[in-house]
Amino acid sequence: MIGTTISKNGVLVRLTEERWYHIVENHDELAGLSDEVLLTVEDPDYIAKGWTDELLAVRKLNERYLVVVYKEIENDGFIITSFITKKVDKILRRGVVWQKK
C-alpha cells in the first residue's frame, strides 16, 4: 500500500502499489508525487463529477492542476488514476459537487 487518506465524504481512500505502478509507468509526470495525490483527495480545491460513478478531486499545483480520479463505494474508496492539466475548466464544467471556501 502506498497510502490511504480520508475523502471529504469521510471515506477511507486507498492508493495501492499496483495502481501507483500503472499510474507512474504511464503518467510519468506524477513520479514522486504520491503524497500530493493523496493530499488532493483529502484536501482538494474542487471535487467534480466523473463519467460514471467516479469523482475528480482537483488541487492547484504551481500553475497547473493535479486531478485525481477516484471511486467511493459505500465505505470503501480507491484511486483509479491521476494526471496534471492546465485546462481545469472543462473538468469543472462536468459539475462541481464540492468546493473549498
Partner: protein, 78 residues
C-alpha cells in the same frame, strides 16, 4: 492457449490501423483503465479530457498517449 492466440491475432487488423507503428499497451484491470503510450516515457506536458472519459496526453502538440477510463465499456458483446 490456441484461444488466447486467436484473440490476439483477431486484434491485428485494428493494431495495424494505429496512427503509429510503435505503441505500448497497459491495462489496469482492477481500475479498468487502459493506457496506450505512443512513446515511453510519455513525458506529457498537458492532458486534455474528453466528454467520453478519454484522456489525451500531449507533449507540446504531439499526442504521446491516450488513457481510457472505464475501458471495458468498449468490449464487444459476445
Amino acid at each position: 492457449m490456441a484461444e488466447e492466440v486467436k484473440k490476439i491475432v483477431d486484434a491485428v487488423p485494428k493494431l495495424l490501423d494505429f496512427p503509429t507503428g510503435k505503441f505500448h499497451v497497459d491495462y489496469d484491470k482492477e481500475a479498468d483503465v487502459l493506457y496506450i503510450s505512443f512513446e515511453r516515457p510519455q513525458k506529457a506536458t498537458e492532458t486534455e479530457v474528453t466528454d467520453e472519459g478519454i484522456l489525451l496526453r500531449y507533449r507540446e502538440n504531439k499526442l504521446v498517449g491516450i488513457t481510457i477510463l472505464n475501458a471495458s465499456r468498449f468490449k464487444v458483446k459476445a
